[in-house]
Symmetry: C2
Subunit: 192 residues, 2 copies
Protein backbone atom coordinates (compact mmCIF):
# COMPACT_ATOMS: atom_id res chain seq x y z
CA UNK A 1 0.00 0.00 0.00
CA UNK A 2 2.67 2.56 0.99
CA UNK A 3 4.77 1.49 -1.96
CA UNK A 4 2.01 2.38 -4.40
CA UNK A 5 1.42 5.76 -2.72
CA UNK A 6 5.14 6.54 -2.90
CA UNK A 7 5.22 5.57 -6.57
CA UNK A 8 2.46 8.08 -7.31
CA UNK A 9 4.15 10.82 -5.25
CA UNK A 10 7.47 10.30 -6.98
CA UNK A 11 5.72 10.44 -10.35
CA UNK A 12 4.27 13.81 -9.34
CA UNK A 13 7.70 15.09 -8.36
CA UNK A 14 7.30 15.17 -4.57
CA UNK A 15 10.56 14.95 -2.58
CA UNK A 16 9.56 14.67 1.10
CA UNK A 17 6.46 13.45 2.88
CA UNK A 18 5.33 13.63 6.49
CA UNK A 19 3.85 10.64 8.29
CA UNK A 20 0.63 12.65 8.68
CA UNK A 21 0.37 13.08 4.90
CA UNK A 22 1.23 9.39 4.30
CA UNK A 23 -1.45 8.46 6.82
CA UNK A 24 -4.04 10.62 5.05
CA UNK A 25 -3.24 9.06 1.64
CA UNK A 26 -3.26 5.57 3.10
CA UNK A 27 -6.45 5.99 5.11
CA UNK A 28 -4.74 5.35 8.48
CA UNK A 29 -3.29 7.63 11.19
CA UNK A 30 0.25 8.92 11.76
CA UNK A 31 0.88 6.63 14.69
CA UNK A 32 -0.01 3.65 12.52
CA UNK A 33 2.30 4.89 9.76
CA UNK A 34 5.22 5.28 12.15
CA UNK A 35 4.49 1.81 13.58
CA UNK A 36 4.29 0.18 10.14
CA UNK A 37 7.43 1.86 8.91
CA UNK A 38 9.39 1.20 12.09
CA UNK A 39 8.80 -2.49 11.41
CA UNK A 40 11.01 -2.00 8.39
CA UNK A 41 13.66 0.06 10.19
CA UNK A 42 14.18 3.68 11.14
CA UNK A 43 13.56 6.03 8.22
CA UNK A 44 12.55 9.53 8.98
CA UNK A 45 13.07 11.93 11.88
CA UNK A 46 9.98 13.24 13.62
CA UNK A 47 9.26 16.72 12.32
CA UNK A 48 11.26 16.45 9.10
CA UNK A 49 9.29 13.70 7.40
CA UNK A 50 10.50 10.95 5.10
CA UNK A 51 12.38 11.24 1.80
CA UNK A 52 10.04 9.79 -0.82
CA UNK A 53 12.80 8.36 -3.01
CA UNK A 54 14.71 6.70 -0.12
CA UNK A 55 11.57 5.29 1.46
CA UNK A 56 10.39 3.87 -1.83
CA UNK A 57 13.67 2.16 -2.65
CA UNK A 58 13.96 0.71 0.85
CA UNK A 59 10.39 -0.58 0.72
CA UNK A 60 11.07 -2.04 -2.73
CA UNK A 61 13.96 -4.05 -1.30
CA UNK A 62 12.04 -5.19 1.77
CA UNK A 63 8.91 -6.13 -0.17
CA UNK A 64 11.13 -8.13 -2.47
CA UNK A 65 9.79 -6.25 -5.42
CA UNK A 66 13.19 -5.82 -6.98
CA UNK A 67 13.95 -9.50 -6.84
CA UNK A 68 13.37 -11.33 -10.04
CA UNK A 69 11.70 -14.73 -10.18
CA UNK A 70 12.09 -17.50 -12.74
CA UNK A 71 8.60 -18.59 -13.73
CA UNK A 72 7.19 -21.73 -15.33
CA UNK A 73 3.84 -21.23 -17.10
CA UNK A 74 1.68 -24.35 -16.70
CA UNK A 75 -0.95 -24.53 -19.47
CA UNK A 76 -0.33 -23.08 -22.94
CA UNK A 77 -3.96 -22.17 -23.59
CA UNK A 78 -5.87 -18.91 -24.11
CA UNK A 79 -5.05 -17.30 -20.77
CA UNK A 80 -1.54 -18.76 -20.72
CA UNK A 81 -0.74 -17.10 -24.02
CA UNK A 82 -2.20 -13.74 -22.87
CA UNK A 83 -0.13 -13.86 -19.66
CA UNK A 84 3.00 -14.84 -21.58
CA UNK A 85 2.77 -11.64 -23.59
CA UNK A 86 1.88 -9.49 -20.57
CA UNK A 87 4.62 -6.86 -20.29
CA UNK A 88 3.83 -6.01 -16.63
CA UNK A 89 4.99 -9.48 -15.61
CA UNK A 90 8.56 -8.56 -16.44
CA UNK A 91 8.17 -5.16 -14.81
CA UNK A 92 7.46 -6.92 -11.50
CA UNK A 93 10.41 -9.28 -11.92
CA UNK A 94 8.50 -12.35 -13.10
CA UNK A 95 10.30 -13.82 -16.10
CA UNK A 96 8.80 -16.87 -17.87
CA UNK A 97 11.66 -19.34 -18.43
CA UNK A 98 9.62 -22.45 -19.25
CA UNK A 99 6.14 -23.47 -20.47
CA UNK A 100 4.47 -26.85 -19.81
CA UNK A 101 1.43 -28.45 -21.45
CA UNK A 102 -0.08 -31.93 -21.93
CA UNK A 103 -1.44 -31.35 -25.46
CA UNK A 104 0.89 -33.09 -27.97
CA UNK A 105 -0.19 -30.55 -30.62
CA UNK A 106 1.31 -27.74 -28.50
CA UNK A 107 4.43 -29.45 -27.15
CA UNK A 108 7.46 -28.47 -29.23
CA UNK A 109 6.00 -25.14 -30.40
CA UNK A 110 7.98 -22.03 -29.43
CA UNK A 111 6.64 -18.77 -28.01
CA UNK A 112 9.14 -15.92 -28.34
CA UNK A 113 12.12 -18.21 -27.81
CA UNK A 114 10.61 -20.43 -25.09
CA UNK A 115 9.75 -23.98 -26.19
CA UNK A 116 6.60 -25.61 -24.81
CA UNK A 117 7.62 -28.81 -23.02
CA UNK A 118 5.55 -31.87 -22.05
CA UNK A 119 4.20 -31.65 -18.49
CA UNK A 120 5.43 -35.19 -17.94
CA UNK A 121 8.98 -33.85 -17.92
CA UNK A 122 8.19 -31.18 -15.32
CA UNK A 123 10.83 -32.35 -12.82
CA UNK A 124 13.56 -32.10 -15.47
CA UNK A 125 12.26 -28.77 -16.80
CA UNK A 126 12.13 -27.25 -13.30
CA UNK A 127 15.70 -28.44 -12.63
CA UNK A 128 17.10 -27.19 -15.96
CA UNK A 129 15.26 -23.83 -15.93
CA UNK A 130 15.64 -23.12 -12.20
CA UNK A 131 11.94 -22.14 -12.05
CA UNK A 132 10.90 -20.98 -8.55
CA UNK A 133 7.34 -19.84 -9.28
CA UNK A 134 4.59 -21.58 -11.30
CA UNK A 135 1.65 -19.77 -12.90
CA UNK A 136 -1.24 -22.26 -13.06
CA UNK A 137 -3.47 -21.82 -16.13
CA UNK A 138 -4.67 -25.37 -16.57
CA UNK A 139 -8.29 -26.52 -16.28
CA UNK A 140 -9.37 -26.79 -12.62
CA UNK A 141 -9.45 -30.57 -12.61
CA UNK A 142 -5.76 -30.75 -13.59
CA UNK A 143 -4.51 -28.00 -11.30
CA UNK A 144 -4.01 -29.78 -7.94
CA UNK A 145 -2.10 -32.76 -9.37
CA UNK A 146 0.09 -30.37 -11.41
CA UNK A 147 0.84 -28.34 -8.26
CA UNK A 148 1.69 -31.47 -6.25
CA UNK A 149 4.31 -32.56 -8.75
CA UNK A 150 5.77 -29.07 -9.12
CA UNK A 151 6.02 -28.51 -5.36
CA UNK A 152 7.87 -31.83 -5.04
CA UNK A 153 10.16 -30.69 -7.84
CA UNK A 154 11.07 -27.62 -5.78
CA UNK A 155 8.71 -24.84 -6.96
CA UNK A 156 7.94 -22.59 -3.95
CA UNK A 157 5.43 -20.04 -5.25
CA UNK A 158 2.15 -20.56 -7.14
CA UNK A 159 -0.06 -18.01 -8.87
CA UNK A 160 -3.32 -19.83 -9.53
CA UNK A 161 -5.88 -18.72 -12.14
CA UNK A 162 -7.98 -21.91 -12.12
CA UNK A 163 -11.23 -21.39 -10.17
CA UNK A 164 -10.50 -24.01 -7.52
CA UNK A 165 -8.86 -24.20 -4.11
CA UNK A 166 -5.27 -25.51 -4.18
CA UNK A 167 -3.33 -26.90 -1.24
CA UNK A 168 0.45 -26.60 -1.15
CA UNK A 169 3.08 -27.79 1.34
CA UNK A 170 3.99 -25.56 4.34
CA UNK A 171 7.17 -24.42 2.59
CA UNK A 172 5.28 -23.05 -0.45
CA UNK A 173 2.90 -20.13 -1.05
CA UNK A 174 -0.16 -19.90 -3.30
CA UNK A 175 -2.00 -16.75 -4.44
CA UNK A 176 -5.30 -17.00 -6.30
CA UNK A 177 -6.67 -14.74 -9.01
CA UNK A 178 -10.30 -15.76 -9.09
CA UNK A 179 -12.29 -13.86 -11.67
CA UNK A 180 -15.43 -15.78 -10.74
CA UNK A 181 -15.59 -14.08 -7.34
CA UNK A 182 -15.36 -10.67 -9.01
CA UNK A 183 -18.11 -11.60 -11.45
CA UNK A 184 -20.40 -12.76 -8.66
CA UNK A 185 -19.59 -9.63 -6.66
CA UNK A 186 -20.40 -7.41 -9.63
CA UNK A 187 -23.63 -9.27 -10.31
CA UNK A 188 -24.63 -8.96 -6.64
CA UNK A 189 -23.79 -5.23 -6.51
CA UNK A 190 -25.79 -4.52 -9.68
CA UNK A 191 -28.82 -6.29 -8.25
CA UNK A 192 -28.65 -4.09 -5.17
CA UNK B 1 -19.30 -17.50 0.85
CA UNK B 2 -22.34 -19.55 1.93
CA UNK B 3 -23.22 -20.07 -1.70
CA UNK B 4 -19.87 -21.69 -2.44
CA UNK B 5 -20.11 -23.92 0.67
CA UNK B 6 -23.60 -25.05 -0.35
CA UNK B 7 -22.37 -25.79 -3.86
CA UNK B 8 -19.69 -28.12 -2.45
CA UNK B 9 -22.16 -29.80 -0.06
CA UNK B 10 -24.66 -30.40 -2.84
CA UNK B 11 -21.90 -31.85 -5.01
CA UNK B 12 -21.10 -34.30 -2.16
CA UNK B 13 -24.75 -35.33 -1.92
CA UNK B 14 -25.64 -33.67 1.40
CA UNK B 15 -29.37 -32.90 1.86
CA UNK B 16 -29.67 -30.94 5.13
CA UNK B 17 -27.27 -28.78 7.10
CA UNK B 18 -27.45 -27.22 10.54
CA UNK B 19 -26.47 -23.61 11.20
CA UNK B 20 -23.72 -24.95 13.48
CA UNK B 21 -22.22 -26.96 10.61
CA UNK B 22 -22.56 -24.03 8.20
CA UNK B 23 -20.83 -21.84 10.77
CA UNK B 24 -17.95 -24.28 11.12
CA UNK B 25 -17.45 -24.49 7.35
CA UNK B 26 -17.67 -20.74 7.01
CA UNK B 27 -15.40 -19.92 9.92
CA UNK B 28 -18.09 -18.01 11.87
CA UNK B 29 -20.53 -19.01 14.64
CA UNK B 30 -24.13 -20.25 14.51
CA UNK B 31 -25.57 -16.97 15.71
CA UNK B 32 -23.78 -15.16 12.88
CA UNK B 33 -25.10 -17.71 10.37
CA UNK B 34 -28.68 -17.28 11.55
CA UNK B 35 -28.24 -13.49 11.46
CA UNK B 36 -26.76 -13.52 7.93
CA UNK B 37 -29.40 -15.86 6.60
CA UNK B 38 -32.28 -14.07 8.31
CA UNK B 39 -31.25 -11.00 6.30
CA UNK B 40 -32.31 -13.01 3.26
CA UNK B 41 -35.57 -14.29 4.83
CA UNK B 42 -36.61 -17.17 7.02
CA UNK B 43 -35.19 -20.49 5.80
CA UNK B 44 -34.80 -23.20 8.35
CA UNK B 45 -36.41 -24.11 11.62
CA UNK B 46 -34.19 -24.23 14.70
CA UNK B 47 -33.34 -27.82 15.44
CA UNK B 48 -34.07 -29.21 11.99
CA UNK B 49 -31.50 -27.27 10.01
CA UNK B 50 -31.64 -25.93 6.48
CA UNK B 51 -32.31 -27.82 3.25
CA UNK B 52 -29.14 -27.47 1.19
CA UNK B 53 -30.90 -27.42 -2.19
CA UNK B 54 -33.53 -24.84 -1.15
CA UNK B 55 -31.03 -22.59 0.57
CA UNK B 56 -28.70 -22.66 -2.41
CA UNK B 57 -31.40 -21.80 -4.94
CA UNK B 58 -32.73 -19.00 -2.78
CA UNK B 59 -29.27 -17.57 -2.27
CA UNK B 60 -28.65 -17.84 -6.02
CA UNK B 61 -31.70 -15.70 -6.67
CA UNK B 62 -30.84 -13.14 -4.00
CA UNK B 63 -27.20 -12.88 -5.00
CA UNK B 64 -28.41 -12.27 -8.51
CA UNK B 65 -26.29 -15.13 -9.73
CA UNK B 66 -29.01 -16.43 -11.98
CA UNK B 67 -29.50 -13.15 -13.72
CA UNK B 68 -27.80 -12.81 -17.00
CA UNK B 69 -25.92 -9.67 -18.08
CA UNK B 70 -25.24 -8.31 -21.53
CA UNK B 71 -21.53 -7.50 -21.70
CA UNK B 72 -19.45 -5.25 -23.95
CA UNK B 73 -15.74 -6.21 -24.12
CA UNK B 74 -13.60 -3.07 -24.42
CA UNK B 75 -10.20 -3.90 -25.98
CA UNK B 76 -9.77 -6.75 -28.44
CA UNK B 77 -6.20 -7.59 -27.44
CA UNK B 78 -4.49 -10.58 -25.82
CA UNK B 79 -6.48 -10.64 -22.59
CA UNK B 80 -9.69 -9.58 -24.33
CA UNK B 81 -9.48 -12.58 -26.64
CA UNK B 82 -8.74 -14.98 -23.75
CA UNK B 83 -11.73 -13.63 -21.79
CA UNK B 84 -13.99 -13.82 -24.85
CA UNK B 85 -13.36 -17.55 -25.09
CA UNK B 86 -13.67 -18.11 -21.32
CA UNK B 87 -16.52 -20.55 -20.84
CA UNK B 88 -17.05 -19.69 -17.15
CA UNK B 89 -18.22 -16.22 -18.17
CA UNK B 90 -21.38 -17.68 -19.64
CA UNK B 91 -21.79 -20.01 -16.66
CA UNK B 92 -22.10 -16.95 -14.43
CA UNK B 93 -24.55 -15.24 -16.74
CA UNK B 94 -22.12 -12.83 -18.45
CA UNK B 95 -22.72 -12.92 -22.21
CA UNK B 96 -20.50 -10.85 -24.51
CA UNK B 97 -22.82 -9.08 -26.98
CA UNK B 98 -20.39 -6.48 -28.34
CA UNK B 99 -16.64 -5.83 -28.67
CA UNK B 100 -15.02 -2.38 -29.03
CA UNK B 101 -11.49 -1.42 -30.11
CA UNK B 102 -9.64 1.62 -31.51
CA UNK B 103 -7.25 -0.33 -33.78
CA UNK B 104 -8.48 -0.01 -37.41
CA UNK B 105 -6.80 -3.36 -38.19
CA UNK B 106 -9.12 -5.08 -35.69
CA UNK B 107 -12.37 -3.21 -36.31
CA UNK B 108 -14.61 -5.22 -38.63
CA UNK B 109 -13.11 -8.61 -37.70
CA UNK B 110 -15.54 -11.12 -36.19
CA UNK B 111 -14.99 -13.35 -33.16
CA UNK B 112 -17.47 -16.24 -33.03
CA UNK B 113 -20.28 -14.19 -34.55
CA UNK B 114 -19.56 -10.90 -32.71
CA UNK B 115 -18.12 -8.12 -34.88
CA UNK B 116 -15.48 -5.82 -33.39
CA UNK B 117 -16.78 -2.24 -33.60
CA UNK B 118 -14.93 1.08 -33.43
CA UNK B 119 -14.83 2.53 -29.91
CA UNK B 120 -15.90 5.85 -31.38
CA UNK B 121 -19.35 4.40 -31.97
CA UNK B 122 -19.66 3.17 -28.35
CA UNK B 123 -22.88 5.09 -27.63
CA UNK B 124 -24.59 3.52 -30.65
CA UNK B 125 -23.18 0.02 -29.89
CA UNK B 126 -24.34 0.18 -26.25
CA UNK B 127 -27.83 1.29 -27.37
CA UNK B 128 -28.13 -1.40 -30.08
CA UNK B 129 -26.68 -4.27 -28.01
CA UNK B 130 -28.31 -3.32 -24.69
CA UNK B 131 -24.96 -3.84 -22.92
CA UNK B 132 -25.22 -3.30 -19.15
CA UNK B 133 -21.72 -4.36 -18.10
CA UNK B 134 -18.33 -3.45 -19.64
CA UNK B 135 -15.18 -5.54 -19.24
CA UNK B 136 -12.21 -3.15 -19.50
CA UNK B 137 -9.14 -4.70 -21.15
CA UNK B 138 -7.59 -1.60 -22.68
CA UNK B 139 -4.19 -0.16 -21.74
CA UNK B 140 -4.36 1.73 -18.43
CA UNK B 141 -4.00 5.14 -20.02
CA UNK B 142 -7.13 4.60 -22.13
CA UNK B 143 -9.27 3.02 -19.41
CA UNK B 144 -10.71 6.04 -17.55
CA UNK B 145 -11.83 7.94 -20.66
CA UNK B 146 -13.40 4.75 -22.05
CA UNK B 147 -15.30 4.22 -18.78
CA UNK B 148 -16.51 7.84 -18.71
CA UNK B 149 -18.09 7.55 -22.15
CA UNK B 150 -19.59 4.12 -21.44
CA UNK B 151 -21.11 5.22 -18.11
CA UNK B 152 -22.70 8.21 -19.88
CA UNK B 153 -24.02 5.78 -22.51
CA UNK B 154 -25.78 3.84 -19.73
CA UNK B 155 -23.39 1.04 -18.76
CA UNK B 156 -23.82 0.37 -15.01
CA UNK B 157 -21.23 -2.31 -14.17
CA UNK B 158 -17.49 -2.38 -14.90
CA UNK B 159 -15.03 -5.26 -14.53
CA UNK B 160 -11.61 -3.64 -14.81
CA UNK B 161 -8.42 -5.57 -15.67
CA UNK B 162 -6.20 -2.53 -16.35
CA UNK B 163 -3.82 -1.91 -13.42
CA UNK B 164 -5.19 1.53 -12.57
CA UNK B 165 -7.84 3.05 -10.33
CA UNK B 166 -11.10 3.92 -12.13
CA UNK B 167 -13.78 6.28 -10.89
CA UNK B 168 -17.40 5.75 -11.94
CA UNK B 169 -20.61 7.70 -11.22
CA UNK B 170 -22.61 6.92 -8.04
CA UNK B 171 -25.11 4.89 -10.03
CA UNK B 172 -22.45 2.51 -11.39
CA UNK B 173 -20.22 -0.20 -9.85
CA UNK B 174 -16.62 -1.15 -10.64
CA UNK B 175 -14.76 -4.33 -9.62
CA UNK B 176 -11.02 -4.65 -10.22
CA UNK B 177 -9.00 -7.75 -11.07
CA UNK B 178 -5.48 -6.57 -10.39
CA UNK B 179 -2.90 -9.24 -11.10
CA UNK B 180 -0.11 -6.88 -10.10
CA UNK B 181 -1.20 -6.92 -6.46
CA UNK B 182 -1.15 -10.73 -6.47
CA UNK B 183 2.33 -10.73 -8.00
CA UNK B 184 3.66 -8.32 -5.41
CA UNK B 185 1.98 -10.35 -2.65
CA UNK B 186 3.54 -13.55 -3.92
CA UNK B 187 6.95 -11.93 -4.23
CA UNK B 188 6.66 -10.54 -0.69
CA UNK B 189 5.54 -13.90 0.76
CA UNK B 190 8.40 -15.75 -0.94
CA UNK B 191 10.94 -13.33 0.51
CA UNK B 192 9.56 -13.99 4.00
N1 LIG C 1 -9.55 -17.63 -20.52
C1 LIG C 1 -9.73 -16.79 -19.56
O1 LIG C 1 -9.92 -15.62 -19.81
C2 LIG C 1 -9.71 -17.22 -18.12
C3 LIG C 1 -10.03 -16.27 -17.18
C4 LIG C 1 -9.96 -16.64 -15.85
C5 LIG C 1 -9.59 -17.91 -15.48
N2 LIG C 1 -9.30 -18.85 -16.40
C6 LIG C 1 -8.91 -20.16 -15.94
O2 LIG C 1 -7.59 -20.40 -16.42
C7 LIG C 1 -7.45 -21.77 -16.79
C8 LIG C 1 -7.04 -21.84 -18.24
O3 LIG C 1 -8.03 -21.28 -19.04
P1 LIG C 1 -7.89 -21.15 -20.62
O4 LIG C 1 -9.02 -20.32 -21.09
O5 LIG C 1 -6.51 -20.73 -20.95
O6 LIG C 1 -8.10 -22.64 -21.05
P2 LIG C 1 -7.54 -23.40 -22.32
O7 LIG C 1 -8.35 -24.62 -22.47
O8 LIG C 1 -7.45 -22.46 -23.46
O9 LIG C 1 -6.04 -23.80 -21.88
C9 LIG C 1 -5.75 -24.78 -20.96
C10 LIG C 1 -4.43 -25.42 -21.34
O10 LIG C 1 -4.01 -26.27 -20.28
C11 LIG C 1 -3.49 -27.46 -20.84
N3 LIG C 1 -3.51 -28.50 -19.83
C12 LIG C 1 -4.52 -29.34 -19.49
N4 LIG C 1 -4.13 -30.15 -18.50
C13 LIG C 1 -2.86 -29.82 -18.19
C14 LIG C 1 -1.90 -30.32 -17.25
N5 LIG C 1 -2.17 -31.33 -16.43
N6 LIG C 1 -0.69 -29.76 -17.22
C15 LIG C 1 -0.36 -28.76 -18.07
N7 LIG C 1 -1.23 -28.25 -18.98
C16 LIG C 1 -2.45 -28.78 -19.04
C17 LIG C 1 -4.34 -27.71 -22.06
O11 LIG C 1 -3.70 -28.58 -22.96
C18 LIG C 1 -4.53 -26.29 -22.59
O12 LIG C 1 -3.50 -25.93 -23.48
C19 LIG C 1 -8.78 -22.44 -16.49
O13 LIG C 1 -8.73 -23.02 -15.22
C20 LIG C 1 -9.76 -21.29 -16.49
O14 LIG C 1 -10.87 -21.53 -15.66
C21 LIG C 1 -9.34 -18.52 -17.72
N1 LIG D 1 -2.27 -9.87 -21.07
C1 LIG D 1 -2.50 -10.21 -19.84
O1 LIG D 1 -2.33 -11.36 -19.48
C2 LIG D 1 -2.98 -9.19 -18.81
C3 LIG D 1 -3.05 -9.62 -17.51
C4 LIG D 1 -3.52 -8.72 -16.58
C5 LIG D 1 -3.90 -7.43 -16.93
N2 LIG D 1 -3.78 -7.03 -18.19
C6 LIG D 1 -4.21 -5.67 -18.51
O2 LIG D 1 -5.28 -5.77 -19.45
C7 LIG D 1 -5.18 -4.71 -20.40
C8 LIG D 1 -5.09 -5.30 -21.78
O3 LIG D 1 -3.94 -6.07 -21.88
P1 LIG D 1 -3.56 -6.88 -23.20
O4 LIG D 1 -2.41 -7.73 -22.87
O5 LIG D 1 -4.80 -7.51 -23.75
O6 LIG D 1 -3.11 -5.69 -24.14
P2 LIG D 1 -3.15 -5.61 -25.71
O7 LIG D 1 -2.25 -4.51 -26.09
O8 LIG D 1 -2.95 -6.96 -26.30
O9 LIG D 1 -4.66 -5.18 -26.00
C9 LIG D 1 -5.18 -3.93 -25.74
C10 LIG D 1 -6.25 -3.62 -26.77
O10 LIG D 1 -6.93 -2.42 -26.38
C11 LIG D 1 -7.15 -1.65 -27.54
N3 LIG D 1 -7.38 -0.27 -27.13
C12 LIG D 1 -6.47 0.69 -26.89
N4 LIG D 1 -7.11 1.83 -26.52
C13 LIG D 1 -8.43 1.56 -26.54
C14 LIG D 1 -9.60 2.34 -26.27
N5 LIG D 1 -9.55 3.63 -25.93
N6 LIG D 1 -10.79 1.76 -26.40
C15 LIG D 1 -10.90 0.46 -26.80
N7 LIG D 1 -9.82 -0.32 -27.06
C16 LIG D 1 -8.61 0.22 -26.92
C17 LIG D 1 -5.92 -1.89 -28.39
O11 LIG D 1 -6.16 -1.56 -29.73
C18 LIG D 1 -5.69 -3.38 -28.17
O12 LIG D 1 -6.38 -4.16 -29.08
C19 LIG D 1 -3.96 -3.88 -20.00
O13 LIG D 1 -4.38 -2.81 -19.20
C20 LIG D 1 -3.14 -4.84 -19.17
O14 LIG D 1 -2.34 -4.17 -18.23
C21 LIG D 1 -3.34 -7.89 -19.15
Amino acid sequence: MYFRILEDLERNGRQVISSAMLAKLGGTNSAQVRKDLSYFGNFGKRGRGYSVADLKETLRGILGLNRSWRVVLVGAGQLGSALFSYKDFNKHGFHVVAILDVDPAKVGKTWDGVTIRAFDKCEQVVRESGAEVAVIVTPSEAAQSAVDRLAKAGVRGFLNFAPCKLTVPESATVRNVNITIELEGLSYALQG
